[in-house]
């Protein structure tokens, strides 16, 4: 169950009302608790929506709603036992079609994560994509995300979870050191095109995040799992944002600002019509050159001087590498 549910808007409620009808027809009497769990909304919302549904219906010619033209439920059962039984329904009884945006959101999302589907099941994916497009009331909107390739065999990780074992692999860290690791896998995260594994690292006795493309020799270990942590115990942030952040000040041409938004820059001052200074936090000074390279020439390090020196020597070194 999701930890925090978004507040329901009118469009959410109308979709739920449309969906309750076929669901209640299909299920027969069903408890408010069960409906809430099935649709992942609160029981208060379910009760409110059921009452609204029970009073909905078709208008008569004079704008008055007549009893026989309304939905009806078993009110006694509802009020005494919080069980919903639909006694009468009007106008609609089927699941509504998807909108073009709804279909597109699912199709693009599916295509994006399709790396988790084993190759042997790829036909399942195609059939599913086709079904969603066919179930839309208009041509699915033109939004697509290409699949993010998975660089390791996920079956090994799934086997480990299935059999309560840990996994081992050799891992290349950001300082180019390769170390053997034993890890209890907990969750796969996909950010942009990069897959990460979050797990309990045996050697460190701590939660760690690993890039799948930095793993080699991934294998199922004979060792049992040591951690009882689950998905729900993981912090939202992929990496520790530690207090040791280094703050770097940049002079930035305003046209470069949209490039920086993922780094959440803090604007320090407006220098001219075209330029501002911004502060950005880094965990490691080594990431500063790559930041500057997002729009070469339009982002300049102001301070600290070490960061400025680092960028200059980095660029000189890089230039030499590429000189024929």
């Amino acid at each position: 169950m999701s930890v925090s549910r978004p507040r329901l808007e009118a469009a959410d409620r109308v979709t739920l009302l449309m969906s309750f009808v076929p669901y209640l027809l299909d299920q027969g009497p069903v408890s408010v608790d069960q409906i809430a769990e099935h649709f992942d909304i609160s029981t208060t919302e379910v009760s409110g929506l059921v009452q609204l549904l029970a009073l909905s219906g078709l208008p008569g010619g004079d704008g008055l709603y007549q009893h026989q033209d309304l939905f009806d439920i078993n009110w006694d059962l509802f009020e005494e036992e919080q069980i919903v039984e639909l006694w009468n329904h009007v106008a609609v009884d089927a699941t509504p079609k998807f909108s073009s945006r709804e279909a597109a959101a699912l199709v693009a999302g599916l295509q994006y994560i399709s790396g988790i589907i084993p190759d042997s099941d790829k036909s399942v994916l195609q059939a599913l994509l086709a079904k969603i497009a066919e179930g839309a009331s208009a041509h699915p909107e033109n939004i697509l995300i290409s699949a993010a390739p998975v660089p390791v065999d996920l079956e090994i990780i799934r086997d480990a979870v299935r059999t309560d074992k840990s996994i081992t692999f050799s891992y290349l860290n950001s300082r180019s050191e390769r170390l053997d690791r034993a890890v209890d896998p907990i969750r796969l995260d996909l950010v942009g095109q990069t897959w990460y594994l979050r797990g309990w690292c045996h050697a460190r006795s701590a939660l760690r995040t690993f890039r799948l493309d930095r793993m080699n020799n991934l294998a199922l270990s004979g060792e049992p799992r040591v951690s009882t942590l689950t998905d729900a115990d993981l912090p939202a942030e992929l990496f520790d944002v530690s207090a040791t952040d280094i703050e770097v000040i940049f002079l930035v041409n305003k046209k470069a600002l949209p490039f920086l938004s993922p780094y959440k820059p803090r604007v320090v001052a407006s220098v001219s019509d075209d330029e501002v200074t911004v502060a950005v936090g880094f965990a490691d000074m080594g990431a500063v050159p790559r930041f500057v390279m997002q729009l070469p020439g339009a982002i300049t390090v102001q301070s600290p001087p070490e960061a400025r020196e680092l960028v200059i020597s980095w660029a000189k070194r890089s230039q030499r590498t590429d000189t024929p």
Binding site: T95, V124, G192, P296
Partner: protein
């Protein structure tokens, strides 16, 4: 049911009542039928002035469409031009998900994961609605063996505006900084598709100045796009996103770059995991769709990468290092 305090009917109540009324009516309802009888309108109906109600009805129609509920309009030949006689209805054929479309618990499990990819975009509400509809079929998802948390980046300033323009066939004006150029240009274009390919958002649009299709990189749209008022650009329905993907794939088959990487470096790890790379020791050969874009990516690896070919790529990367050095030598200190 008491209808005292009439205008207090909630929006969801009004919209759902409108759906029911339009589905059940065989010949359709005129606007005045609707405003006078459907709950949420009839309560506030006034025989003299209804312009506010009219507008509300127009908004409701488009809101229902965005939920997948298509409203048909019928105009009798003999009444053509008399807009007050236009009849509105919802056909079951357009409303009902066909019986042939059913989902398994395994499929729902996958769809649950797919839907979470949109956590920060307005599309997250749409994927949630689609899941609600699928759940109305009574199926529940399986417990997945391992949790999967996808997160597609949609934090570009222009994302929501372009997506909205896509949906509503709008024309936008924005500043575009073409890769490899230093000054942005103003472009006027009607977006046709958005595609995230190899981690970058692309926008396929009809450029109105060039009167031709053009591809833009979302993150290089450097101004907040402005809508051209009162104008739309009708799209011919087509799979533009697939077309664009196909085009990028073909381009990257036609253009090959060869580089060497430092063993064990970040560049080696990342570039080796590209889809179409061929690796021989520390020498990597792979396809690319746009030279400037590739130069931008390779330059960010600095001395971890040495470019063997093509020559233009080498030049484009060099130009970037020079730009950084120039910027850092000029601004004092």
């Amino acid at each position: 049911m008491s209808r005292a305090g009439a205008s207090q009917v909630k929006k969801e109540d009004r919209l759902f009542s409108l759906i029911l009324a339009l589905v059940s009516s065989r010949e359709g309802l005129t606007k005045s039928d609707i405003l006078q009888t459907v709950r949420g309108y009839s309560d506030v109906y006034d025989f003299n002035v209804n312009s506010a109600l009219d507008k509300m009805f127009e908004r409701d129609k488009s809101e229902l469409r965005s939920m997948g509920v298509v409203i048909d309009t019928l105009e009798l030949a003999e009444e053509e031009g008399e807009t007050h006689n236009i009849r509105y209805s919802i056909s079951r054929n357009n409303y009902d998900l066909p019986d042939t479309i059913r989902f398994t618990p395994e499929e729902l499990t996958l769809l649950n994961v797919a839907a979470t990819a949109w956590q920060e975009a307005s599309l997250s509400a749409d994927s949630r609605h689609a899941l609600t509809k699928i759940k109305s079929l009574g199926i529940s998802a399986n417990d997945p063996l391992i949790g999967v948390a996808p997160h597609i980046r949609t934090d570009d300033v222009a994302f929501e505006v372009i997506e909205d323009a896509l949906q509503n066939e709008l024309i936008l004006r924005f500043s575009y900084l073409k890769p490899g150029q230093s000054q942005p240009q103003t472009r006027t274009a009607a977006p046709l598709a958005m595609l995230n390919w190899r981690g970058q958002w692309y926008v396929l649009a009809h450029d109105l100045d060039a009167d031709a299709q053009r591809t833009f990189l979302l993150r290089r749209i450097v101004s907040a796009p402005q809508r051209i008022p009162q104008r739309t650009f009708p799209r011919i329905p087509a799979s533009y996103a697939q077309q664009l993907e196909q085009e990028l794939v073909e381009r990257s088959l036609a253009n090959k770059a060869t580089i060497t990487v430092i063993s064990g470096s970040d560049a080696e790890v990342r570039l080796s995991s590209l889809l179409d790379v061929s690796i021989s020791g520390t020498k990597l050969t792979f396809g690319y769709s746009d030279l400037e874009l590739l130069a931008e990516e390779l330059a960010s690896y600095g001395d971890e990468v040495n470019i063997a070919s093509p020559e233009e790529l080498k030049v484009a990367v060099q130009r970037r290092f020079q730009a950084v050095l120039l910027a850092h030598s000029e601004s004092g200190l």
